[in-house]
Amino acid sequence: MRRAQKSCPFCETRVRFIDYKDDRTLGRFITDHGKILPSRLSGVCARHQRQLSTAVKRARYLAIIPYIRGHQA
């Protein structure tokens, strides 16, 4: 788990729109199992968390990031 951050990492780098095609960035905000990391752990502000949530869901649909990781059927 990531330690809580003081401020939103997206605001710090002045990201206006979170890109659903950027798997490296999205990868930092999902857990090992592929769940979206809650903002209380990542420190993402509400506006960016909403964008992040949409971005992660789009990326999942496009098979850029997995829906579930580490699950054996």
């Binding site: 990531r2 990492p9 710090e12 780098t13 002045r14 990201v15 206006r16 729109f17 659903y20 095609k21 960035t25 930092r28 789009r58 999942r60 649909y61 496009l62 098979a63 850029i64 990031i65 997995p66 829906y67 579930i68």
Partner: protein
């Protein structure tokens, strides 16, 4: 009124490159886009999870400006094509809100991001 869109296609990775370019030209022709359609070929890439029997896909990102009225026909064609594993059309977001970041800002942002990753 026309709007900016971004489309991502995942083609069957067994298709020839020429066939993919062909399909793209056909679909983009249906859009009657204002200005050119910018395409970015990511090429063959492993899917994060298997889609049916497929483990790989050929990704193409396209940006265009068109009238929304042209979209239903275009999307129907995409849906019917077996060579297209998946596609996603989204409004290109720079259209709403503030203008995109300048080159310097982007560079600074990227540098910041890399610093961040070192900490982990």
């Amino acid at each position: 009124m026309s709007r900016d869109y971004e489309a991502v296609y995942i083609f069957d990775s067994t298709l020839e490159d020429a066939a993919i370019t062909d399909k793209l030209t056909r679909y983009h022709g249906m859009l009657k886009a204002d200005g050119e359609v910018k395409t970015d070929h990511w090429g063959r890439r492993q899917l994060a999870y298997p889609i049916g029997p497929r483990e790989n896909g050929y990704y193409v990102v396209a940006r265009f400006n068109t009238d929304p009225k042209t979209l239903p026909e275009y999307e129907r064609a995409l849906k019917l094509d077996d060579g297209v594993v998946r596609y996603l059309v989204t409004l290109h977001e720079n259209e709403v809100g503030a203008p995109p970041m300048s080159e310097e800002e982007l560079l600074a942002a990227r540098r910041r991001e890399e610093d961040d990753e070192d900490e982990d």
